[in-house]
């Protein structure tokens, strides 16, 4: 992929008159030497795999460690009973993010987006948006191109792995990708997409990767929720016309700098943060027996 910044994608979009998503589709065709149809179909397959993974959630399953499971089903009951303060849309997003995170921890099939640990963010907002607004599948696939392009820029400019940049690089990136995709789905253009990315990533800047017992379970499953809900807030702000004082590319640069400065104990080593709390240590010791 030839893009190193959001600005470059926007420039090509403006000069060619093609929408943001199509600039990335063209780039994929060139990069992988595939036809337009092949590229679209592959992204459609990713979307369908997300739907399948959501539907395949097992509300009775627990992870091998026993640390996570069944919370997606709990949230579903609560939302369906009409109790969710956040309403049915955000309630459903929370439910789906938990479900996907738990499915991943329970060795079910998921789509890494951008990583396995953050696999709940994009599907939870995309699937719920499609349901709520009856968006055609084709448009959902276009929004996935938007999200993928954003993730690509972040991966090239900074990082998307917790081990290198902390959770801000995983759930933070997923949140930015989802926010950009949502802004597009909700009628935003290039400006709104970039603003949504900037705001979503800014809000998770500095988030550390501190998994209890080194497993992709606590706090990872629930952090998918905050990535998803933050994405909706950022996209809504962006489409409302709210802008970010710091442009998206500079926020990504800041994320990289923060990740580099972050101590190793807070980058997926299971040594700091929540992993080092008495409860975290106890959980680890129980598993070692």
């Amino acid at each position: 992929m030839s893009f190193r910044s959001m600005e470059e994608i926007v420039e090509v979009s403006n000069s060619s008159g093609k929408p943001f998503w199509e600039v990335l589709l063209m780039d994929d065709m060139e990069e992988r030497l595939v036809s337009r149809q092949e590229s679209m179909e592959k992204m459609q397959m990713m979307y369908r795999q997300m739907q399948e993974a959501d539907a395949a959630y097992d509300g009775a399953a627990r992870s091998a460690s026993g640390l996570v499971g069944q919370d997606g089903a709990r949230m579903q009951d609560y939302v369906e009973a009409g109790h969710a303060m956040s309403g049915s849309f955000v309630g459903r997003v929370i439910e789906r993010a938990l479900k996907m995170g738990e499915s991943n921890a329970c060795m079910r099939r998921i789509v890494a987006a951008p990583t396995a640990g953050s696999c709940g963010v994009i599907p939870s907002v995309f699937l719920t948006y499609q349901q709520q607004y009856q968006a055609p599948e084709e448009r959902m696939v276009e929004a996935l191109f938007v999200a993928a392009g954003i993730g690509m820029v972040i991966a090239r400019r900074a990082f998307i792995a917790g081990a290198t940049g902390g959770c801000q690089a995983e759930v933070g990136s997923a949140s930015a990708m989802a926010a950009g995709g949502l802004a597009y789905l909700h009628g935003g253009g290039n400006k709104e997409i970039c603003a949504a990315v900037a705001m979503a990533l800014k809000n998770l800047l500095g988030l550390v990767c501190d998994p209890v017992a080194g497993l992709v379970e606590v706090p990872c499953v629930k952090r998918n929720v905050i990535g998803a809900v933050g994405a909706i807030a950022a996209a809504d702000m962006a489409v409302a016309g709210i802008t970010s004082r710091v442009p998206a590319d500079q926020v990504i640069e800041a994320m990289r700098a923060v990740g580099v400065a972050m101590p190793c104990a807070l980058k997926e080593t299971g040594e700091g943060g929540l992993a080092a709390t008495p409860a975290g240590v106890e959980a680890r010791q129980a598993l070692e027996k």
Binding site: M1, L24, D27, D28, E31, R32, K42, M43, M46, Q49, S63, A64, S65, S103, N104, A105, C106, M107, R108, R109, I110, V111, A112, A113, P114, T115, A116, G117, C119, I122, L144, F145, A147, A148, G149, G151, M152, A155, R156, I160, A161, A163, M177, A213, G214, L215, V216, E217, G270, L287
Partner: protein, 220 residues
Amino acid sequence: MNLFDIIGPVMVGPSSSHTAGAVRIGYVAGRLMGEPIQKAGGGLHGSFWATGRGHGTDRALVAGLLGMHTDDIRIPDSFRYAREAGMELEFYHVELADAHPNSVELTLNGTRGKELVMTAASLGGGRIQVCSLNGLATNFSAEYPTLIVENMDQPGIVTAVSAAVACENINIAAMQLYRDKRGSLAVMILECDGEIPREAVEKLSAIQGVCGVTYLSMKE
């Protein structure tokens, strides 16, 4: 890296390094065996040992040995499939010198007598590196169509193998040669830009001095 490294891959969780990468390592080892495995030992190093059980690393390695890919929903049940296939399994702790934290040493015995000791590392994002084969240090990723040729260390074999690949009009992206000592068994690894047709691979086995040929296609 392309767009589908960002949205994708489709994989069985929970971890691209501890699960998906482990499946790929097992898969490469299974292909190198080329015969059903009777006994498999998995020496887990570093984080693979410390957090492997919680990440299903052991089950992922076995799934790979059985020929499963990273998106195969049978991965969590791979121990049962291995039992049904008559594969004996054992996992234990090893300390490998200067190894990546996510490393494994697989010791495999085939039903037709083949033995293989392979060490490999999972580098993150599902990417792997095969670090040694039967004690010979190697370095390949199995991300390209890869030919692994075991041969006698004697003159002319490299030329014969590379000529056979050139005949198919396929470019060699990287080529590595490894041997223990002069005249011993050597390993040649060719990472190619294109897929090598099956007949061409079969022809390689017929070259004098070649003891074994394994081809890792990207299309399977």
